[in-house]
């Protein structure tokens, strides 16, 4: 790998971490449990790496590991987004207040 690639990835990591700190700090404390299940679903983006390994079928070993990894990630995506939405639906405002 070219050194430039490494450094550009490191820059992305640094900037994303700053954005992350800033955005998360503003998340309502009411919603910290749904926040955790949401970030959980989002970090299941690991599915993209798993899909390639399961789909390129280079060796049996890698295909098996890739397939398990896809299943694990999809579990997190499905359950993470569904339960976040289920919890958020319960948060309602006091009736009478607009």
């Amino acid at each position: 790998m070219h050194p430039i690639d490494f450094w550009s990835m490191t820059f992305v990591f640094m900037l994303a971490t700053f954005v992350g700190f800033d955005v998360i700090r503003n998340v309502s404390r009411l919603l910290h449990t749904p926040l955790m299940s949401l970030t959980n679903a989002i970090s299941a983006i690991a599915v993209v790496g798993s899909i390639i390994i399961a789909g390129e079928q280079k060796t049996t070993f890698s295909t098996v590991l890739g397939t398990i990894a896809v299943a694990a990630s999809v579990t997190n995506i499905v359950s993470g987004f569904l339960i976040t939405d289920r919890m958020l639906k319960m948060f309602r405002q006091q009736s009478g207040k607009r």
Binding site: V27, V48, G49, S50, E56, F61, V70, G80, F81, Q94
Partner: protein, 464 residues
């Protein structure tokens, strides 16, 4: 051409993920955040499926079906079980990262493509991934109470853990220097799996909110390492967002208990503090009946309820809501004061009360309610103990000294509900119960609150 389309879809996906978290800043926009997350994820998966290296889709399809079949029931668990579910999903995230790292190592080893950088990134990914996997399974087991929740400690524990970490580091460095030393790879793998278990063993039930957040951060970092391995920027971004979220939540949890990370990880809190100030002077306890409490509430103008996890254990959330409704009907202000560690994970108590229909504008954080408490007529403490113990403010010998608490002792009257006079979760005496302005309402939280609600309801039927 295809590559451009893939990268463009990753770019938009990354932006949607940032928006998704941004919209979590308020309950009103939060559900839009979920939609943005789903959109980003779909785009990223679509972009990935365009990859020309993918020659067969059947294994992917089978895995998607299996993942969905497991995921749907996991999203329907009771809200008291959400901490376990969350720990379990950290385990899945760690597992995926560890497996992808292992697969990549074996592929690149065969192709002779292992560089020092790649091996280093894989070592980090595999170590974080597998330690998150077993660590989170342990945490889920403790939360589900399949594994004893008390801290399991033995002599030389920290020494053994530290030793394992050093050996793992040596194995990783040796692999980076010579990536073809493949026999070291399973060693690294076994060490990570073991380290995850040993790391969680000494941690007690009271520290679970911090541990879940910390494992959240590890899972995010494992995804970042995977991004470096696969040279995939959307993975780095999503992992960084997850990691920073986990880190912030762990810091909030640590501050809420006045502890440091090292103290949580190596301190084995939650053990019953052996003879922490025996029974000092046994001051008498004043107890009240449900009718007394109802009469007090009738005359109050401002009421605060302080719920702890005991409320959820007794499944008294709905009774708490009925109490709220009764007070609202009379024009009495009623708010719920939520300590950051009131539940078993960050924000847990809010979700439990929201499920029982308590509107979110009645849920108030500790820092926001404390300045108001001197004006509050009645505070009702249900299922909470340490988070309202005034000893945290002044008793230097108390194990919870320095922990920020909800200062209910400053309210005009305190009603504390408890089953018996036994010390609470952390086994610490609570002087609140013997204070002059405290009345004890003994009994199971659900039954006791139910009786108070009944007494209030019957009075309004006769009186007004």
């Amino acid at each position: 051409m295809m590559e451009n389309l893939t990268q463009a879809s990753y770019l938009v996906a990354a932006a949607l993920f940032v928006f998704s978290l941004r919209w979590m800043s308020h309950p009103k926009t939060a559900r839009r955040g979920v939609a943005a997350g789903v959109g980003g994820m779909s785009l990223a998966v679509f972009g990935t499926l365009l990859h020309p290296e993918i020659i067969a889709f059947h294994w992917i399809a089978i895995a998607v079906v299996v993942g969905t079949a497991v995921g749907i029931p996991l999203s329907r668990v009771a809200l008291t079980a959400v901490p376990q579910r969350t720990a379990l999903s950290h385990a899945f995230g760690g597992l995926a990262a560890g497996l992808v790292g292992t697969a990549k190592y074996s592929l690149w080893l065969g192709e002779g493509e292992l560089t020092a950088f790649r091996t280093g990134a894989i070592a980090l990914e595999v170590f974080l991934g597998f330690l998150t996997f077993t660590g989170s399974l342990m945490a889920a087991g403790k939360l589900q109470e399949v594994i004893p929740t008390r801290p399991i400690t033995y002599r030389g524990q920290n020494f053994i853990n530290f030793g394992l970490l050093v050996i793992a580091l040596f194995a990783a460095v040796a692999l980076v220097i010579d990536p073809t030393l493949w026999a070291l790879f399973p060693v690294l793998l076994a060490l990570s799996l073991t380290f995850g278990v040993l790391l969680i063993l000494p941690i007690g039930g009271a520290d679970m909110p911090t541990v879940i957040s910390l494992l959240n951060a590890y899972a995010g970092l494992a995804a970042v390492a995977m991004g470096f391995v696969l040279e995939n920027k959307v993975l780095i971004i999503a992992g960084a967002l997850d990691g920073s979220s986990g880190l912030i939540l762990s810091i909030i949890m640590c501050r809420a208990m006045n502890r440091s990370f090292t103290n949580v990880l190596f301190g084995a809190f939650g053990q019953v503090q052996a003879g922490a100030k025996g029974a000092a002077e046994q001051k008498p306890v004043k107890s009240a009946t449900a009718q007394d409490v109802a009469d007090l509430l009738e005359m109050a103008r401002d009421v605060v309820v302080v719920p702890g996890y005991g409320l959820a254990v007794a499944q008294a959330q709905h009774r708490a809501f009925e109490l709220y409704e009764q007070l609202q009907k009379r024009g009495i202000r009623c708010r719920f004061a939520i300590h950051p560690v009131a539940g078993r994970m960050p924000g847990h108590m809010n979700v439990l009360l929201a499920e029982a229909n308590v509107p979110y504008d009645a849920l108030v954080e500790m820092d926001e309610i404390n300045p108001d408490l001197a004006q509050v007529d009645v505070a009702i403490v249900v299922g909470a103990n340490d988070v309202v113990n005034p000893a945290a403010r002044h008793d230097k010998s108390s194990p919870i000294y320095g922990m920020p608490i909800i200062d209910v002792d400053k309210c005009k009257t305190v009603i504390a509900n408890k089953r018996t006079m036994n010390p609470g979760f952390a086994g610490i005496d609570n002087e609140l119960y013997t204070a002059d302005n405290t009345l004890m309402l003994f009994g199971d939280a659900k039954a006791a609150l139910g009786e108070v609600v009944k007494a209030l309801a019957s009075e309004s039927g006769m009186g007004h």
